[in-house]
Symmetry: C2
């Protein structure tokens, strides 16, 4: 279940622990090997749907959402990246434009690896190849799960599934039950693929049922077992 570590960046000289919360635009420092360290504040775009990739990004620290904008307004969040994962590999491998966007949801540090370096290394480093293959496979599995959920589960079920999945990916805060990621209601809705208001109503209903607590954007899970039951209910 856990991903292998990333052979491209394990020995990377970039210090991820650095100043994450710096204000202003993405800050970049050139490294000796052509890589660049990029520091982003919350809500900044890493790359956008439709643009041309010039390299891949490695998420060293922070949280990034991968999302897609449909024709009209509404966006769909496809997944969140974990620290250590590579972003933008799909487009580079197929030599296509990005078909999704990446945006930070908190201050983050990424390492940019130029196209030629990535492709060259991918050509000769077997560990990297295995890492990328495994990552793509896993993302495909998650995407397919999401397709199934969207077409056969209700919004309530999907919301329950997603809360549990957020715990899987990000875990809890120190209290051991508050999910370690803060999303706006809209992001939550874009994640489940439902309207904003519907999502709020369902969160409230979960709260009334004693499954969760809500405190602003903090979400505390009180009864994960019942939440899981709800997620798999027949209808």
């Amino acid at each position: 279940m856990t991903d292998p570590c990333n052979p491209l960046c394990d020995n990377c000289a970039i210090d991820a622990s650095a100043e994450v919360n710096i204000e202003g635009d993405a800050e970049m420092g050139m490294q000796s090997n052509g890589r660049r360290k990029m520091v982003y504040v919350k809500g900044e775009s890493v790359f956008t749907e439709g643009s041309q990739p010039s390299g891949v990004f490695c998420l060293k620290k922070g949280k990034v959402k991968i999302h897609k904008t449909g024709s009209h307004k509404k966006e769909q969040i496809l997944r969140f990246a974990r620290e250590g994962q590579l972003l933008g590999t799909r487009a580079l491998i197929r030599n296509e434009y990005y078909t999704s966007s990446a945006t930070t949801i908190e201050g983050s540090v990424l390492c940019f690896i130029p196209k030629h370096e990535f492709l060259a290394k991918l050509g000769k480093d077997d560990d990297l190849k295995a890492f990328v293959l495994s990552n793509l496979s896993n993302n495909l599995k998650l995407a397919e799960d999401k397709i199934t959920q969207l077409s056969i589960s209700s919004v309530g079920q999907r919301l329950a599934i997603i809360i549990l999945r957020l715990i899987e990916v990000y875990g809890f805060e120190e209290d051991g039950r508050t999910v370690a990621i803060e999303l706006t209601r809209e992001e939550m809705a874009n994640l489940v693929g439902a309207a904003n208001e519907t999502t709020i109503r369902l969160l409230s209903s979960f709260k009334r049922k004693g499954l969760i607590l809500l405190n602003g954007r903090k979400l505390t899970v009180i009864n994960a077992a019942d939440l899981a039951k709800l997620a798999i209910a027949t209808s």
Copy 2:
């Protein structure tokens, strides 16, 4: 857009043009190199969700659907395989159980390549590696498109998109406008992620609007342009 050819099977000794329509269970003939030629009739299962992969399959001839069964009854078709594509690579690469099933939708010939052979070749053949990477990437892109469609488009839009997509994948029959694949209404519904009856109603409405013709399971596209317009309408 077109996939590169498949380095694993291009020089494969298996003759795909053989007796596709043989009755009875999947027939297999051992090849010198441990591969097996498998002949399937329509509707046979190639592999099923939850079982353990022992190799990969190459679709030499025919049509295969990749689908997933949710907890309760309804199935979701994720995609169709093209001739020349490998099936079941995801599970093997991650060393996991299958998370989806593959079923023939017409008489088909597949080549089974045992796990050890596939993994060994994947380890040393760069072309194969590139092929698999490219395929996984493309499947991921398609899956993500589907997620977006499911969450922001109406059933009618999705149906239009899927008809156009079927043309892309399978093309037309000799008349140049009848889609070269025959699906049951239920398969159509499982593909768009909607109820059977809803799908039928929408197909009828497309017919009334003069966009398509229906003749049993044959679907003839009369006005592809308007179908495309319908697919991207605001709501």
